[in-house]
């Protein structure tokens, strides 16, 4: 909301208070000031000039040559193109050297041969209005030579207050409300304003009927003889300062009263209203109306309407209807000043996306006692500006409103305890009184009468009064205190520890980069990964329609950036620890199932044929995941084909890790389905091998963990030997490993596959597997004999597999 410094001066004496000071104090005691600007700063740069003579330009029909007195010894010659310039006018002159809006510097020049020593300005050139038909003609008594801002008393500053910090303060949506705060802050009295009604005639009150509780109060005042003439300067300037374009006296006054007191109001053309008068009712299903902005609105029974007879003429509290628009020729008016149910106004304005100055105020719960004062204010001001207006009848004031003013009990000890400062009773009561609260001592403290303006929404608890006292006393005057509390060790947090362990391991030796991505996933991406048809939690109002789903897993987001990163890097390793959500299958309105997941994606340029057999990202990632699970202490981990494989996975190259036959899947490691590469941009130069792992933190948290016990060190030296077997290609490596175990009869401490070879020397359809084997006994030192026994048994077992030992 914009607040004008000069406007505040109508309500409180600002003597000695700079605009900067005001902003600082409002920020510290009342609401956040977002900024302050000098109003129409260029008015200080131009001066008042008197046009002494005007003659036509010798060489140009549309130009005239003016002799202008700007209070200097010499008069200036200025060439002017405006049709309305005339001798005897006081005008705004930009002399040579002045810089006008748009960085337009006035220079000495020659226009069609005639020298010109300045410019006579229009309001548009000074950025104080749209009018560009001609130059700006100033009041006759303006002092020649003075800066226009001074001559017209237009030195003003515009203060912008953050609307959010006024959400709970309907009373601050007008200048008088802000002035009330200043009165409390600066110990200055508010200037009195007369809210007495002007005289009215004894005509019949205008008929008004309320058919709904959504309108607690409706006050209608008939006005005759009002004219839509331009507003007086004082009114125009104040409105301009707060960013309102002056229109005519009737519109301007309506705005002025709203911005002055915070009470929106509306004027109808009485001639266009039904003789039955005004009725206030809820809309009917299917009803429609055209609002002042020309839009056709489809209404719902939750919308509140002002009707003429039965026809809608305004969307209550939001916008008038086009049909009853006050035109230039209107002279019979009905002024509406009402109170509407805030929730009703808010819902309609939200639904229609129609936010107006009026709706913003009504939805904050306006004081129902305010309409009377606002209507009187309007009437008095109008009568001052247009002495010929008449009020043919007393106002019609209907509705079942009640004064919300109420009384709270305040115990001053409570104030001191909650603020943590010994503020004495005297200051407590003084602050409240300055803010307009009534204070009376009673047995258990004070009875505090809350004024109606603060009663609708804001002040309901004694805690609310504590805030009033604290902010005017200034929170900055409260010294800090140390809290004493028993500090016990925090409870163990296995999930958080797990997250940290995973992050450290992956970002550490595994050399993955941690990323954090959006929870919304794009339809296009889901489709590329075959996941579009899976049930997702959906968003009604997504940022983009294609991003209306909440991720089930972190994998799609990880894959979304893979192409961009691969363009820059040969080897891209990303991981994310985050949440996925599965809609509640029983009731989509219940909270969805939350999954705690870690996702890993590893994409590299394809490994060449000469690469080691286990150099592929898939093997590497499986190894890394195995190691990770091991470091996390999970035991009994087994890998088996993933059943079913995740939608993004290669249907065959997908493995899952479990700890126990029926246990939950701890992790799944897979290659990206080769069918998805092209769609993800992984072709051409970005052709990649991509391995993905998804790890379930939830499953790890319930998996069997290794205890902290150490294994005793071997007491006898072991034997290390290498064995290589050639066997049919289809034989699984696991069978060889089993044969090693079996041949070792419990003495195999380790067997590491170090080579896998296919080629001429082993023959077609066959492969060679080579292992480093360590034999170890805890009873004796193993000898060459033991090694020979092992080899003999192993050879026999390999033979059963259709293979043979290779030498070397």
């Amino acid at each position: 909301m914009y607040v004008s410094y000069r406007w505040l001066g109508r309500h409180i004496d600002l003597e000695g208070l700079s605009p900067e000071q005001l902003c600082e104090d409002l920020t510290l005691s009342t609401a956040e000031v977002e900024g302050m600007e000098k109003f129409a700063p260029h008015l200080a740069d131009v001066c008042v000039g008197l046009v002494k003579q005007r003659v036509p330009h010798p060489d140009a029909d549309k130009l005239s040559v003016c002799t202008v007195d700007v209070g200097q010894e010499e008069t200036l010659t200025i060439v002017c193109g405006a049709p309305n310039v005339a001798a005897g006018q006081k005008v705004a002159v930009a002399t040579v050297g002045t810089v006008l809006p748009g960085d337009f510097k006035i220079k000495k020049s020659k226009i069609r041969g005639v020298p010109s020593q300045g410019m006579i300005c229009s309001v548009r050139e000074l950025e104080i209005g749209d009018d560009h038909d001609g130059i700006w003609v100033l009041a006759e008594d303006s002092e020649i030579g003075a800066p226009v801002a001074d001559a017209l008393d237009l030195n003003d500053w515009v203060i912008e207050i953050d609307n959010k910090s006024l959400t709970h303060r309907p009373d601050l949506w007008g200048h008088r409300g802000i002035a009330t705060e200043l009165a409390a802050i600066y110990h200055r009295p508010l200037k009195a304003i007369s809210f007495d009604w002007p005289e009215w005639g004894d005509g019949a009150p205008y008929p008004i009927r309320i058919d709904t509780p959504a309108c607690p109060r409706y006050l209608g005042l008939p006005i005759d003889g009002a004219k839509a003439t331009p507003s007086p300067d004082w009114l125009r300037w104040l409105l301009l300062a707060v960013g309102q374009r002056p229109i005519d006296c009737l519109v301007d006054l309506s705005n002025f009263v709203m911005l002055d007191l915070g009470q929106p109001n509306h004027t109808f053309d009485r001639h266009s209203l039904d003789p039955e008068g005004i009725s206030v009712r809820m809309a009917r299903e299917g009803e429609g109306m055209r609002t002042l902005d020309g839009e056709e609105r489809v209404l719902q029974p939750s919308d509140l309407l002002i009707c003429s007879g039965d026809a809608p003429v305004a969307l209550a509290g939001i916008m008038g209807g086009e049909s009853s628009k006050v035109g230039d020729k209107t002279d019979a008016l009905l002024l509406e000043v009402a109170t509407f149910a805030p929730a009703i106004v808010r819902r309609t304005s939200n639904r229609l996306g129609l936010r107006t100055d009026a709706s913003a105020r009504f939805e904050k719960s306006l004081d129902p006692t305010l309409p009377e004062r606002a209507a009187a204010h309007f009437a008095r001001l109008l009568a001052e500006i247009q002495p010929d207006v008449r009020f043919p009848a007393p106002p019609t004031d209907v509705g079942e409103w009640t004064d919300p003013a109420h009384t709270l009990t305040l115990r001053p000890d409570r104030v001191r305890q909650e603020l943590g400062k010994a503020i004495d009773d005297e200051e407590i009561t003084a602050i409240l009184e300055r803010l307009g609260f009534g204070v009376e001592a009673q047995a258990d403290g004070y009875a505090v009468a809350v004024p109606s303006a603060r009663s609708t929404k804001d002040v309901h608890l004694d805690r609310d009064l504590v805030e009033e006292i604290g902010r005017i006393h200034r929170y900055g005057n409260i010294e800090e205190k140390t809290m004493l509390a028993q500090v016990a060790p925090p409870p163990k947090d296995p999930r958080r520890n797990l997250v940290r362990a995973i992050q450290d391991q992956l970002a550490g030796s595994a050399r993955f980069h941690e990323t954090i991505s959006y929870s919304f996933v794009d339809d296009g991406l889901l489709e590329k990964l075959g996941m579009l048809d899976l049930p997702h939690v959906r968003i009604v109002n997504p940022v983009a329609q294609s991003e209306n789903k909440i991720r089930r897993t972190v994998i799609p987001s990880l894959l979304s950036g893979i192409e961009t990163n691969r363009r820059l890097l040969e080897d891209v390793r990303l991981f994310e620890v985050g949440k996925g959500y599965l809609p509640n299958p029983d009731d989509p309105n219940k909270q969805p199932r939350e999954l705690h997941l870690a996702g890993l994606v590893w994409a590299t340029a394809p490994r060449g044929p000469e690469a080691r057999f286990d150099a592929h990202t898939f093997n590497q990632l499986q190894g890394l995941t195995t190691d990770l699970l091991d470091r996390l202490g999970v035991i009994e981990v087994q890998w088996r084909p993933a059943a079913p494989p995740p939608p993004w996975a290669h249907p065959a190259k997908a493995l899952e890790a479990v700890a126990g036959q029926d246990a939950e899947r701890l992790a799944v490691v897979a290659e990206l389905d080769p069918g998805f590469h092209a769609a993800l941009g992984l072709s051409g130069e970005q052709t990649s091998e991509v391995a993905i792992a998804e790890i379930s933190l939830d499953a790890i948290l319930i998996a069997p963990l290794r205890g902290g016990r150490y294994s005793p060190l071997a007491r006898y030296p072991g034997i290390k030997l290498d064995v290589a077997v050639a066997l049919p290609d289809h034989a699984a490596a696991a069978t060889v490993r089993e044969a090693i175990e079996k041949a070792g009869k419990g003495s195999v401490a380790d067997a590491e596959l170090f080579d896998l070879y296919r080629g001429e020397s082993v023959g077609a359809g066959r492969k060679s597997l080579a292992y480093h084997v360590t034999l170890q006994s805890d009873k004796k030192t193993l000898t060459e004999k033991d090694e020979q026994k092992f080899l003999k048994r192993f050879e026999a077992l390999v033979g059963e597999l259709g293979g043979e030992l290779r030498n070397g």
């Binding site: 510290l28 005691s29 609401a31 956040e32 959010k164 910090s165 959400t167 709970h168 805030p342 808010r346 819902r347 939805e363 909650e418 603020l419 943590g420 400062k421 805690r463 504590v466 805030e467 902010r471 929170y475 409260i478 010294e479 800090e480 205190k481 809290m483 509390a485 500090v487 016990a488 925090p490 409870p491 999930r495 958080r496 940290r500 992050q503 970002a507 050399r511 941690e514 990323t515 954090i516 991505s517 929870s519 939690v537 959906r538 968003i539 009604v540 109002n541 909440i550 979304s560 950036g561 990163n565 820059l568 080897d571 990303l574 949440k579 959500y581 989509p588 309105n589 909270q591 939350e594």
Partner: protein
């Protein structure tokens, strides 16, 4: 005896003739024996001429190898008359000793020369860039979150987690933001499909209620997490960002305690005492509510970060609203508390001077690898 090294080392061709065959050697044995002194001098000269270990080895073999000069001498002894045998034996041993000594000396000299040469550091380029192992990285949000978690834990706070998809009740209703409350506007909520009861949480504050429901007072908790606001995005706004909620519930909590706790917190974050100011701020779940500003840690006279005001808005906070305590099942006459919210995304941006919030969740390795 076809060691190419001996050829390369420039061993004179005559040496070869010496080693050719033991059969012919007997005829010249006496002549050879008489040439002993010359032979040792010859060996010493050859040894001294060696510039590397391989050449030295070859010379050594030539004289004291299995079929070297010394071996041939000894082999020839049996064919000599007995009176000569002793003298030739002694000569052979003397030659052997002399050669071995010379080789050892030469070896030592060569080793010393090698070390001396090595120490010259010839060919060393001090500007050569070292190979750098690539490394992984923790997201800057993770780093800041961890730091704060640890800081708060050291002050007796428990770290809690909460769901990102929340019910209307926890996100709004229980926090004193009833339906039709204008404060809902500023929350720019993403609504989930269904009957409207599920929303993407707009703040981490719902965990206040969850904490009150599950933990017994007095309590101190912080809740880091992801939150969502339906805002148009630009360099300083994103629809998804990270916050950390704090809640303290105890008896006799006052604004003064809140100020003290916040100052301690800022000291922990910025490693120094920052001047702070508390001003009114409106959040329906606290009363009174504040914005806490801190003196801009980046400037003396105003800068881009503080928008030239010298204050940066850091922490919305306040005393817990009695209605919130009630919603959490506590009696506001018995218990009080304060709550605060820290913008983690904002802290990360401040700390690393990041000018576009969208980098945080953008997943670009060029960004991530910097942390």
């Amino acid at each position: 005896m076809s060691d190419p090294a001996s050829g390369e080392a420039g061993t004179p061709g005559e040496a070869d003739s010496n080693t050719d065959s033991s059969a012919d050697a007997s005829a010249d044995a006496s002549a050879d024996a008489s040439a002993d002194a010359n032979t040792l001098a010859d060996a010493q000269a050859k040894i001294f001429a060696c510039d590397d270990v391989d050449a030295l080895k070859a010379v050594e073999r030539e004289f004291v190898g299995k079929q070297g000069v010394v071996a041939q001498l000894l082999a020839s002894i049996s064919k000599l008359p007995p009176e000569q045998r002793r003298g030739v034996g002694q000569q052979a041993n003397a030659l052997k000793q002399g050669v071995q000594e010379a080789v050892q000396n030469r070896q030592q000299t060569l080793a010393e020369a090698r070390v001396a040469a090595d120490r010259q550091g010839e060919g060393f380029d001090a500007s050569l860039p070292p190979p750098r192992p690539r490394r992984g990285s923790l997201h800057p949000l993770t780093q800041v979150t961890r730091e704060l978690e640890d800081l708060f834990q050291s002050m007796g706070y428990t770290v809690l987690d909460g769901p990102e998809i929340e019910t209307d009740y926890y996100n709004f209703e229980a926090l004193n933001i009833h339906a039709d409350h204008p404060a809902r506007d500023s929350h720019d909520t993403f609504f989930c499909e269904g009957d409207g009861h599920l929303v993407m949480r707009t703040h981490t504050s719902p965990v206040q209620i969850r904490a009150l429901e599950t933990l017994k007072p007095p309590l101190r908790v912080v809740v880091p997490g992801k939150v969502f606001r339906h805002e148009s995005t630009d360099a300083s706004h994103d629809h998804t960002f990270h916050q950390m909620e704090g809640l303290v519930v105890d008896r006799d909590i006052s604004v003064a305690h809140l100020v003290g706790a916040m100052k301690t917190l800022l000291r922990g974050i910025f490693d120094r005492d920052l001047e702070v100011r508390l001003r009114p701020g409106y959040f329906p779940f606290v009363e009174p509510g504040f914005e806490l500003d801190a003196r801009c840690p980046f400037c003396q006279e105003g800068c881009r970060v503080c928008k030239r005001t010298r204050w940066i808005e850091l922490l919305p906070c306040g005393l817990v609203h009695p209605n919130v305590l009630r919603a959490g099942g506590l009696d506001p006459d018995e218990w009080g508390g304060f709550a605060f919210g820290l913008g983690l995304s904002r802290l990360v941006m401040l700390r690393h001077n990041i000018d576009d919030v969208r980098h945080l969740l953008g997943g670009d390795v060029r960004f991530l690898e910097q942390f």
